[in-house]
């Protein structure tokens, strides 16, 4: 069955520390991979996407994500976390031909300590 697993439900890090958000997927076809963020009172927003090509994807807020086919993973990393990064993050997988039909993980809530 197709699924997305985010093993960490809640992560707390200190401001300035490094961070990795984990995402593993099980998908029969070649996947498209996404990271979305959800902040209170706001809708889900797309942060990163991987369709093909370079397996390291850079975001605009200092985050990057790496697709590893051998590990069925699309982990997201940041070398130095800022207090404004606190939010809930969702990994999602889709495939060509299925439009925007995505399977989401259950999310990782990130808290940042001053």
């Amino acid at each position: 069955a197709q699924s997305v697993t985010q093993p960490d439900i809640h992560i707390t890090v200190s401001e300035g520390a490094s961070l990795e958000l984990r995402c593993n997927y099980s998908y029969g076809a070649t996947p498209y991979l996404f990271w979305y963020v959800q902040s209170p009172g706001q809708g889900l927003q797309l942060l990163l996407k991987y369709f093909s090509g370079d397996t390291l994807v850079q975001g605009i807020t200092g985050f990057e994500a790496e697709f590893k086919r051998s590990q069925s993973s699309f982990n997201r990393r940041k070398p130095s976390v800022h207090w404004s990064d606190a939010a809930e993050y969702f990994c999602a997988v889709g495939t060509r031909g299925q439009g925007g039909k995505l399977i989401f993980g259950q999310g990782t809530e990130l808290s940042v300590k001053p």
Partner: protein
């Protein structure tokens, strides 16, 4: 409008009642999606429209759920004979670009008492 608009933002109803949730997508977006998000979970796909037609309704949980998009723009999700298990945030998204680049609304929170 500038973004995806969903109304109402909150809806409280009694078990057995009928509910309609409305979504106004970004102007020009041909694809529209409905997802449902329960507490502590990620969004779960319900239905996808390309234009006026439902391209994929495989996520609708049962025949109490129905969605329309008669003119290819605004969509309405309709839930008949609501049950307490229908309580969730119903998210609408639209897209015009590559698959998966969805723009989400803030959602309609449905509470069934």
């Amino acid at each position: 409008g500038a973004g995806v608009s969903q109304t109402p933002s909150n809806k409280v109803t009694e078990k057995g009642k009928y509910v309609e949730l409305r979504c106004d997508p970004i102007s020009g977006h041909t694809a529209l999606y409905w997802y449902r998000q329960s507490l502590g979970q990620g969004p779960e796909f319900l239905i996808y429209f390309q234009g006026t037609g439902a391209a994929d309704d495989s996520g609708l949980p049962n025949d109490r759920f129905f969605a329309v998009r008669p003119e290819g723009s605004v969509s309405t999700l309709k839930i008949q004979r609501t049950e307490r298990g229908d309580s969730a945030v119903y998210l609408c998204a639209s897209s015009a670009l590559a698959p998966g680049e969805l723009f989400f609304g803030e959602g309609s929170r449905l509470t069934v008492l």
